[in-house]
């Protein structure tokens, strides 16, 4: 049955995707399968390749090697696939002469599933000035416009790259509400990158964590939220307790040591921590991602003063 086949291949498949600018490897051997109709968080520090990955999938840039399939087709060779994707870049440029109204009027030509009622509702909720020329919009207004276009596009593959630069807490809340409502009513695949990880975490079903051009973790949100924990106490007790486990970060305060450890503790280990009077606390997803990033920076540093001291 062809129906089964097309369902099986729905989604994004990345195989060994690499992007280099000369000797600078922005993405290295990225392999991942993103089944359709889920909201994904693309997380990681600045410069790890999040925007580049979105640009490659949406065919805004060309990969150096590897393969990208969206619903089984290469976007590079298939215009029909490209029509199913919407990616408004964080630094999106519009025709200077265009007002907000003009941009929203031409948008349906690019997005066949355009929902003007969604565009109208969002424009009003974000209080976007319709007659203002695009170049006169503030940072927050440009972000709001990008959100209006991406959500109203109802594109099967929707890419949101740092969608809320310059947006205040109220505008971000409106965005979260509208994203969930739109997604619930019209499911689609959403890839969202953000630094406000803890704020965005409840919206996500799965996360992909990028580090220095590689995917270091792809998992569901509950698993990712249990990615690490912090142990704090007397230095010798902490080191004794964590034993051979991989430590992401270490911080000292007098004779106290606080370490971020990858993974989870079982009940037995929790009891032992209690006996040693160690405090064990879960980390938020944001703290986990930050700890991974700090760990990577420390690893790549030429000298590690603490460890190399005689």
């Amino acid at each position: 049955m062809t129906v089964t086949e097309s369902t099986a291949s729905r989604g994004i498949e990345l195989l060994g995707v690499t992007k280099s600018f000369g000797s600078n490897h922005v993405l290295t051997d990225v392999t991942a399968h993103l089944p359709a109709d889920r909201i994904y968080g693309l997380l990681g520090a600045n410069g790890v390749g999040k925007t580049t990955l979105m640009s490659l999938i949406t065919n805004h840039a060309f990969r150096s090697s590897g393969s990208i399939l969206v619903d089984g087709d290469d976007p590079d060779e298939n215009a029909a696939v490209r029509e199913r994707m919407c990616f408004v870049r964080e630094d999106q440029k519009y025709n200077d002469a265009f007002s907000v109204k003009d941009i929203l009027r031409v948008a349906p030509a690019f997005y066949p599933s355009w929902a003007s009622e969604t565009a109208d509702r969002l424009t009003e909720r974000f209080r976007l000035p319709l007659t203002t020329k695009s170049k006169r919009l503030s940072r927050g207004q440009r972000s709001a416009l990008a959100i209006v276009v991406t959500l109203a596009s109802r594109a099967a593959y929707t890419f949101l790259d740092e969608p809320y630069l310059g947006l205040d807490a109220s505008a971000r809340t409106i965005f979260y509400e509208e994203l969930v409502a739109e997604y619930a009513a019209h499911p689609r695949t959403v890839l969202l990158s953000t630094h406000l990880i803890d704020e965005a975490a409840p919206l996500l079903e799965e996360v992909l964590i990028l580090d220095q051009g590689r995917i270091v973790l792809q998992t569901d949100i509950d698993e990712a939220s249990r990615g690490s924990f912090v142990v704090r106490g007397r230095e010798s007790d902490v080191l004794d307790f964590v034993g051979g486990r991989a430590l992401l970060t270490q911080r000292r305060l007098g004779g106290l040591l606080s370490v971020t450890v990858r993974g989870e503790l079982n009940n037995e280990e929790h009891r032992r921590a209690d006996e040693l009077r160690l405090s064990v606390e879960p980390t938020s997803l944001q703290e986990f991602v930050a700890a991974l990033g700090i760990h990577a920076l420390d690893q790549s540093a030429p000298q590690n003063q603490t460890e190399k001291a005689p």
């Binding site: 909201i39 704020e199 409840p202 919206l203 879960p282 997803l285």
Partner: protein, 120 residues
């Protein structure tokens, strides 16, 4: 809604919230609880997470599915929840409470006296 400080996943937190509401009678027996979509929009959470919360309550025998209609509160759910919470009361409240008392050097008699004197 975000993961709580004790590290409970969001779906557990939502399930606990609905269970609290059932316990105090905000959702009566055999009445409907909010749908996946209603929960996700209200709490601004992923619909899959809202679905997991409802499934957890189904697994615990607190709500049940009426085909094509939605999720409803099981008859006897408030009593069942109360019994379960009472069973967990020692672990979740009494033990940490006594441990803090011990850290402060309070004797059991002193703690009992504090409880007796508490105006609430």
């Amino acid at each position: 809604m975000s993961p709580s400080a004790d590290g409970r996943p969001i779906f557990v937190e939502i399930a606990d919230q609905i269970a609290d509401d059932i316990l105090v009678g905000l959702y009566a027996e055999e009445t409907q609880v909010p749908s996946t979509t209603e929960l996700s929009v209200h709490y601004r959470i992923n619909p899959a997470t809202a679905g997991k919360a409802l499934n957890r309550l189904v697994d615990e025998g607190i709500v049940y599915k009426r085909r094509g209609l939605g999720m409803f509160v099981v008859t006897g759910a408030p009593d069942a929840l109360r019994a379960r919470r009472r069973a967990a009361f020692t672990d979740e409240y009494v033990r940490p409470f006594l441990a803090e008392g011990a850290r402060l050097g309070l004797t059991l008699d002193e703690i009992v006296e504090l409880i007796r004197k508490d105006p609430s």
